[in-house]
């Protein structure tokens, strides 16, 4: 056994040995004035600096926080998913120029069918049931599932095509609504994950989106709808002005339109 320690209660001198000394060498107090110092055994106070305590503390903290977050996440998951679905529907409606407080009901009213098309023929291959409504069209496009929403606005058929791309800081996406001739833009909706407020983020503003209305998508067999440098689009039926100061985001929108709509060329040219 390791040496025990005894402290003099009068002067605080600590003696190391098997038992208390007969007399304190400092203050001459008798052995009865000594008490054993109990180290290792928890005193009435925890030693918060020991390694064991630190490791246990960290482990417990991480587990508690992990459970808390998992609990919050699973508790709120359904509600969040529902919000995201509603928000996606709202965005699709917004491309049709419909602002809605009740996106769920209005979506059912205006959007008649959610169909997949075959890029090679441009023909419809299957209809997506309402229960399988997707909220991530980037993944859908990568999986080769090309969605078209067939809509009915005041008796006229409109087609909405989802588009996805990258801006300056993160993802950008949107929906392009076309008239029944599949050539004229009826309306657009763009949004972004984290573009610069006041600059690139303006793609989510009406001023930018309204420029697309009435423009043509295709020139010959190619996608011609483009976003160009601010102030150079005048007189063109294919081009819209980019945002000055938001060049990379504007270019991102341009690339997004070209890449995504390219998959739909056969659908757009099919009569």
């Amino acid at each position: 056994m390791a040496t025990r320690k005894f402290r003099c209660k009068v002067c605080g001198y600590v003696h190391e040995g098997d038992s208390a000394p007969d007399k304190c060498p400092v203050c001459q107090a008798p052995a009865s004035e000594f008490e054993e110092v109990t180290e290792g055994k928890p005193d009435k106070k925890l030693n918060t600096n020991s390694n064991t305590y630190t490791i246990v503390y960290a482990a417990v903290m991480v587990i508690v926080v992990a459970f808390l977050l998992a609990f919050v996440n699973s508790g709120l998951r359904d509600k969040q998913d529902e919000n995201i679905r509603l928000d996606t529907k709202k965005q699709i409606l917004s491309s049709l120029g419909i602002t809605s407080d009740n996106a769920g009901a209005d979506y059912d009213r205006y959007v008649k069918r959610d169909v997949l098309i075959d890029p090679a023929t441009g023909m419809e291959t299957e209809e997506v049931p309402a229960a399988d409504f997707s909220t991530n069209y980037d993944n859908e496009a990568k999986a080769g599932r090309l969605h078209v929403f067939v809509c009915d606005v005041d008796g006229e058929t409109k087609y909405v095509i989802p588009v996805n791309g990258a801006g300056l800081w993160g993802a950008i996406w949107g929906y392009v609504a076309l008239d029944a001739d599949k050539q004229t833009v009826y309306g657009t909706y763009f949004s972004h994950a984290s573009e610069t407020p006041g600059l690139g983020a303006e793609i989510a503003g009406e001023a930018f989106q309204d420029q697309f209305n009435g423009k043509k998508v295709m020139d010959g067999g190619n996608v011609a709808l483009s976003v160009v440098k601010h102030g150079t689009s005048e007189g063109s039926e294919f081009k819209v002005d980019g945002i000055s100061g938001g060049t990379i985001t504007s270019d991102g929108v341009n690339n997004m339109l070209h890449t995504c709509l390219h998959n739909y060329v056969n659908f757009l040219t099919a009569k």
């Binding site: 960290a58 926080v65 709120l76 995201i84």
Partner: protein, 210 residues
Amino acid sequence: MSQLLSKKNKEALFTPIGKNNPVTVQVLGICSALAVTSKLEPAIVMGLSVTVITAFSNLVISFIRKTIPNRIRIIVQLVVVAALVTVVSEVLKAFAYDVSVQLSVYVGLIITNCILMGRLEAYAMSNGPWSSFLDGIGNGLGYAKILIIVAFFRELLGSGTLLGFKVIPDAFYAAGYANNGLMLMPPMALIILACLIWYQRARNKDLQEK
């Protein structure tokens, strides 16, 4: 409970809003002041979110301050802040989806806000829960105040709008007035901030170095 608003607690609540402002005096949280102030609305929401999170992280840390091992205290603080921020962002997504979309990345940015760590280290680690809570609210509001002032000038002069509404009449533009695009760039946030610091130091003799 007679000391709910004792002199010390009042100080904890009010000095950060004015004389000991975390942004202009302690110069903390500058990076987010650049990022979110080009428009007034995100600045307001960010200010409020930071207030809520500083208050509650101060409260939690103050409750457990005596049990925290000294060597990993920064990590403990960070975990508490990160957990709170995640919970707040999950709750926003479930119950206020529109607000959470608007805030997007800013909620996550709160974790890196040095005002939080600063207050936890300097105040919550050595003070009781109630005064720490007040200190958190005070510092959060002090931060929000500066953000709102900076965003006010940047949105007004940079976009000619306030909270998205046009306030500069078309007649001004017709007469040759133009929005200052530089106002929307981060450097102008720094310059406006510097002007605020200048103003506060000029008014407050205590803050001037000899």
